[in-house]
């Protein structure tokens, strides 16, 4: 089931930090939400917060320590615009379950709403300390650093508080809302990638993300064994192309062994890129590859050469397992790409369209979102 977008006010409410974790990724709670946590989830989605609060309180009365229930209660308070109560719940959760990154993340979102960016930063840094691969926190932390930088510049330069960084960020979100690219809001389905050793984890500095990429990051893939509340699955609306690819048991398209070949082609391509092996790298592209912006093949090759072989320092390109769809001699591979180079690291969702030519899968089109 695709997650229903939460009510619209939400997107405004959270425009400072887009990614609110909506669930906990803890592996031991399966029995507990055989009870009525799914019902609470449902009520939240329907915007029936008082009822949801009632249910969750009832649920917690018999299990006052239950992390899932308390987490949902914090979310309900957040939705009911009771930030002090929500902060109370999440703070207590961080004390009782310091190993969970989600409560820290949500605390940060709440602090950021109140413009307490230093507290938000501390909370996010804690989230990352407990969970170095917690992608949402990186995403949010990037925003917080930008906010803090913006405040620092305001103080340094006596600006009126509307300097360029802040403006950029806000404009970016407006853009997303108005261009109908879909919901900007945190459709985040719980599930931080608990297990994925994403390279991004090692690199706090990341480039300003492209708008869609930023949203995508809010929907990290489901970890293999994430018993999150049943009906919130990784969302795959238009704006959240992540659908990310954990070794999920049920990737429907992965039917024939052709997909293995495509996956191998993706791996070889990323590998050549990492090794700066331009011959192999460029050889991965079909002769009729659709160059970006319609530039000539030669110009494009030169540009790639310059950006890859011409770059000082080590490059690392790794990809999460691609989601492959094959249609005759055409294949689409969608995956999360993690790029690291001195001074820059980024994670983006990438789509490669392959065509089969002479028994080889070659890249016909390349899109980063």
């Amino acid at each position: 089931m695709t997650s229903t977008p939460l009510p619209r006010h939400r997107s405004k409410q959270f425009q400072t930090l887009r990614a609110l974790a909506l669930g906990l990724a803890i592996g031991f709670s399966a029995p507990s939400f055989a009870d009525n946590l799914p019902e609470v989830q449902r009520l939240i989605k329907q915007g029936q917060y008082p009822q949801a609060l009632e249910k969750v309180d009832a649920y917690l009365s018999s299990r006052p320590k239950d992390a899932q229930g308390r987490f949902l209660k914090g979310l309900i308070y957040t939705e009911m615009n009771r930030p002090a109560d929500a902060i109370g719940v999440f703070t207590k959760l961080t004390e009782d379950y310091p190993e969970l990154p989600e409560p820290y993340n949500n605390l940060a979102v709440l602090y950021a709403q109140q413009k307490q960016y230093d507290k938000a930063r501390t909370a996010l840094e804690m989230a990352i300390r407990t969970h170095p691969s917690y992608a949402i926190a990186y995403e949010n932390l990037g925003d917080i650093y930008a906010k803090l930088a913006s405040q620092a510049y305001d103080k340094a330069l006596q600006l009126d508080g509307s300097n360029a960084i802040a403006q950029n960020k806000l404009a970016l979100i407006r853009d997303l809302i108005t261009t109908g690219k879909g919901n900007v809001k945190p459709t985040a389905p719980a599930a931080p990638v608990a297990a994925a050793p994403a390279p991004v984890a090692a690199a706090p500095a990341k480039p300003a993300p492209a708008p869609t990429a930023a949203v995508v990051a809010a929907t990290p893939g489901a970890a293999a064994v994430t018993p999150k509340p049943a009906e919130i699955k990784p969302a795959t609306p238009a704006a959240a192309p992540a659908a990310p690819a954990a070794p999920a048991p049920a990737v429907a398209n992965k039917a024939d062994n052709g997909s293995d070949e495509v996956a191998k082609a993706v791996a070889a391509w990323a590998n050549a890129w990492s090794r700066k092996d331009m011959k192999v790298y460029l050889g991965a592209y079909a002769s009729d590859f659709e160059t970006p912006k319609g530039m000539s093949r030669k110009t494009w090759e030169d540009e790639r050469e310059q950006r890859i072989a011409g770059k000082a320092g080590k490059i690392s390109v790794t990809v999460d397992e691609p989601q492959v769809t094959i249609n005759g001699d055409r294949a689409t591979a969608k995956f999360r790409q993690h790029y690291k180079a001195p001074g820059l690291s980024s994670s983006t969702t990438k789509t490669l369209i392959f065509v089969r030519a002479g028994g080889k899968w070659l890249i016909k089109d390349e899109n980063a979102r």
Binding site: Y145, S150, N163, L344
Partner: protein, 442 residues
Amino acid sequence: MPGRKFLLLALLGCLAGGALAKPAVSAKSAKKPAAATPLRKVAVVGTTAVAATALASSAKAQSNTGELPRTVSDAGPEAQLAKIFKEIEANRLNNALQLTEALLRQYPNYRLAHLIRGDLLLARTQPIQGFGALNGAPADKVADLRAEAVVRLKGYREKPQENFVPRYLLQMQPDQRHAIVVDTKRSRLYVYENDLKNGGRPRFVADYYVTQGKLGSDKLVEGDKKTPIGVYHVTANLPRQKLADLYGSGAFPISYPNELDRQQGRGGSGIWLHGTPSDTFARPPKASDGCVVLTNQDLDAVAKNLQVGLTPVIISSSVEWLSLDDWNKERNELNKTIENWRADWESRDTERYLKHYSKRFKAGGQSFDQFAAQKRQVNAGKEWIKLKINNLSVFRNPGKEDVVVVTFDQDYRSNNLENQMKKRQYWQREDGKWKIIYEGSA
């Protein structure tokens, strides 16, 4: 991506040029830029460490000389800034950010530190290109902060050398406990003590970052937004309660324009040493209307050493330093010259006495000829003259011309007149000889 070494590109680039420039030492025997004073060894992290180190070096200074502890330099943010830039240089941006945040806890409205913090934080989200990397940042304000960083770091690296003294402080009168020397090019104010135990040689006490006029130094006319160059003294102490916020924790007007300024037709008034408004820790190097501005904490520290009506404030565009030997030589030469003038006046040999005066002499509306005629007439009626000079001070006027400002208590007695006055003279070297170009009561 270049991003991470951003500050290096912009800021340290500037410094590299300046770091080689040594203080202008006008002595033959420039010594090694030795680890000189014990004060310069301060390298610190964080507030407590600053205090601790400051105390340590203070104690050291004390044990070296067996004298009272004195105000210690480096109490400002320079040491921490130096450390921050060192960390940035080594690409340890996390450390740099921590240090910057520690600095901000100490000085919450220190704009330069906020800017560095902004850069360091922004560098975590995107590659950035230089100092003040905010997109669309007002260039003038960034330039101001960069200029402040550059002069502070230079000031920190280039402390006055031991055994060198500012050329201007040739002789302080005994009750002048301290002298202030300002170097506008370096945006630095130096406090010197009149070390009577060592024959009144000036002893370095502390130095501070200062702000000067928006358009620099060498004030000429009212409203030119420049800081005057010359020998002045503190004329008043205006307490904080009576001042607008702009002046911060206090203000000390100085005696601009002095007699020489007036002769040269220089105008304007109201040049003060003062503090900083409450909304900022420091002001840019060039920001005042001509006043010399210190941070409030620095003004408070300097104020302890200021005596109204006494403390000299000498402002130079670029302080010249003399080795103690050369300083002694200049001082002795001038003391001798002044003594000769005194003796020649006592001798009643008017022509000999008048040889001490320049043909360009002008004072009290008199030309040299008028002055000479009057002296000849007065001295003709004298049977004896006794002249005593007390509380002599001799300060060299900054600038290309050899001019010194001589001030003393004159005790004049003769067969028909007794007169005590405080006199000030300006002497200028003409063809190798010191001549008086102005004299009058002070």
